[in-house]
Amino acid sequence: MILVFGEEFERDVTYELVALAKRLGDYKVVVSEDFDDIDGDVIRVERLNWKVVKELHDRFKPEGVLFANAPSGMDLAPKLAGITGIPMVTNVIKLENGDRFKATSLTYGGKVLVDLEVDKPSIFVVNRGYYDPNEGRGTPKVERLDLDFEDDVELIEVVKPEEDVDISKAEVVVSVGRGIGDESNIELAKELAELLNGVVAGSRPIIDQGWLPKSRQVGRSGKTVTGKVYIALGISGATEHVEGVKAKNVIAVNTDRDAPIFRIAKVGVVADVNELLPVLIEKLREIKS
């Protein structure tokens, strides 16, 4: 049996864990919030802390435990491993079940993959973005468990970024450069960002012109973006700028097919941003509605 601990703070990752668990065999999903579309057996607990994790682990004695490489998963997994002494693999991007688990971990800053064979029982901390969350959706069978253990760590306050977002932490960043033309087009970029649940950012010239606040600057004298997707619109890709782009996927739109930004892009689109954006936004709106 696989025991999945849902992610408390970035709940959407939970679906990805369920998608993986499904492939590994029987599973139960432990969550501390209401989910109405998780596929399979769901155990609803009041709180998710290490004492609860330990209790459920002892109760179900799973062959594998899955956590997300996310704020609560990265705290609870090693604690459990420390207490129980069972093997733990982190940064997992692929996992198969068999006599032993076969895991692949992404390490050395993404430069190295390592294939591992892991004895059962064991713990896995799974990276985001490798399993389709939709596969984890379905109809849940919810069981409520009344476990409310005192914890040595207590959340006292959640601080949202003041008025402006922190682009360095955002998963999706829509970034604009000089190729955007004039200031009015910033609105189009903002709209695209909204449609993709992302935030808007810019290269230095845009910030210097006062079209976006300084907090939105990407690059050496601005911030480094580390999220999942970085969409560069009309950015040529000067060294100073590229230094601040550490997102996993870069999508670049530029009229110049030799623009250096394409060298770090996964997908490059040779087009004029100002022509492309209205069409793209229209299409995304259709899908949304």
């Binding site: 000089r178 230095r204 010239p205 012109q209 050496r220 004298s221 000067a238 060294t239």
Partner: protein, 382 residues
């Protein structure tokens, strides 16, 4: 405090005591209107024992080391190479370093370049050429040692200038070589930022490498490297504009016509600091078809690009104080005199001006070229 005073005495030859508080420095400073401490006020504050006030204001970081104040100071006080680095050193020792600069310094200390690039890849630019650029390690001796310095070696845009220079050397059939992975930062910015120990360490390591090989002189297109090698390492070094000038007779016979209106930007460490004004101008003027116009502020009165003395890593500090960057003012000035090409004397100028062109919306109207790029274009036929 004593350490600061000793450093000031050493770097200014005791002259900082001689300030007559005339304010020429402040009026000459590109940031004079923005900074809470002009050099004059810094000296005054030091005399009054208010050094911490200067350091807390961050004014010591608001200097592009452009040498204008120093070159004009009637008391001949070394402000740029003395007062500022001494104050910066104190900042460094107190652990108060702007983040960008801090990162650059850590990288230079660890990897010999500010970009956190591998020293192994220092000759990466040469591999992008369709001919082989020999290394000293292989050749042992050459007439010319070509030194691209960090920006020329790693920076995507500056590399283009390095490649152009190498191509010109090849066309001129110059016997040249590079140090490749044995090269490391020459450290002029490091020195101007007050990290004297690191500068000396770099110098020591570099000198060890230089001594291994035989060459007649070094050629570099980095004005700061030129300055460090000439005035601190004491080596025989030519700025590439001098090198091109020396070969002008030969080049003239090969030039094709170019249809440009060109202005030339005097880089601070070429001009004000080292008095090289005419060679680059003569090279540009000798290209047929080129119309040469001067910036209004030229030669010793030229405005700085803003990159020097670590300025390229102090953008965030500067932004706190300054509304218009000098580079932006400079490109507008180029427009004013009707130039469509700004030719630069230092590779650091290129990214500064290209950025400024974007900010001012002049990209498309004006392009920035290194003098080697212009020469190569004339050689290759426009």
């Amino acid at each position: 405090m004593d350490m600061l005073l000793n450093r000031l005495k050493e770097l200014t030859n005791n002259k900082y005591f001689q300030c007559i508080q005339c304010g020429t420095c402040g009026g000459s400073c590109p940031y004079g209107a923005y900074t809470p401490y002009t050099p004059r006020r810094m000296i005054l504050a030091i005399r009054l024992g208010m050094v911490e006030d200067i350091l807390n204001s961050n004014a010591q970081w608001l200097c592009t080391a452009c040498q204008t104040c120093t070159s004009r100071c009637p008391s001949r006080i070394q402000i740029t190479d003395g007062i500022i680095p001494a104050l910066r050193e104190k900042s460094l020792l107190e652990g108060k370093v702007p983040e960008e600069l801090s990162t650059a310094l850590i990288n230079i200390m660890r990897y010999g370049n500010p970009f956190k690039e591998s020293p192994m890849k220092r000759d990466g630019w040469a591999k992008e050429l369709d001919f082989e650029v020999p290394t000293m390690m292989k050749k042992k001796s050459a007439e010319v040692l070509l030194l691209p310095e960090c920006f020329g070696a790693y920076h995507r845009r500056c590399k283009q200038a390095t490649k152009a220079l190498a191509k010109v050397m090849k066309i001129l059939e110059v016997d040249f070589a590079i140090l490749g992975r044995e090269e490391r930062c020459t450290g002029d910015h490091v020195r101007l930022c007050g990290e004297f120990a690191l500068f000396e360490d770099l110098m020591e390591k570099n000198m060890k490498v230089f001594r291994k090989y035989e060459f007649k002189y070094i050629v570099t297109h980095d004005a700061h490297a030129f300055n460090a090698l000439k005035n601190f390492y004491g080596l025989n070094v030519l700025h590439h504009s001098q090198f091109l000038h020396d070969n002008l007779e030969k080049l003239k016979g090969m030039f094709n016509e170019l249809d440009y209106t060109v202005t030339y930007h005097d880089s601070c460490y070429l001009g004000r600091k080292n008095g090289i004004y005419e060679e680059p101008r003569e090279v540009i003027r000798s290209i047929p078809g080129v119309r040469f116009v001067e910036f209004k502020r030229n030669r010793e009165n030229a405005l700085c690009c803003g990159a020097g003395g670590g300025g390229i890593w102090l953008d965030s500090v500067m932004r706190e104080f300054v509304k218009v960057r000098p580079a932006e003012d400079r490109v507008r000035e180029a427009k004013e005199v009707g130039a469509d090409v700004i030719v630069t004397g230092c590779v650091l100028d290129i990214p500064m001006f290209e950025d400024a062109l974007k900010v001012t919306g002049l990209d498309g109207e004006i392009v920035v070229k290194d003098i080697a790029e212009l020469v190569l274009e004339a050689l290759e036929g426009g």
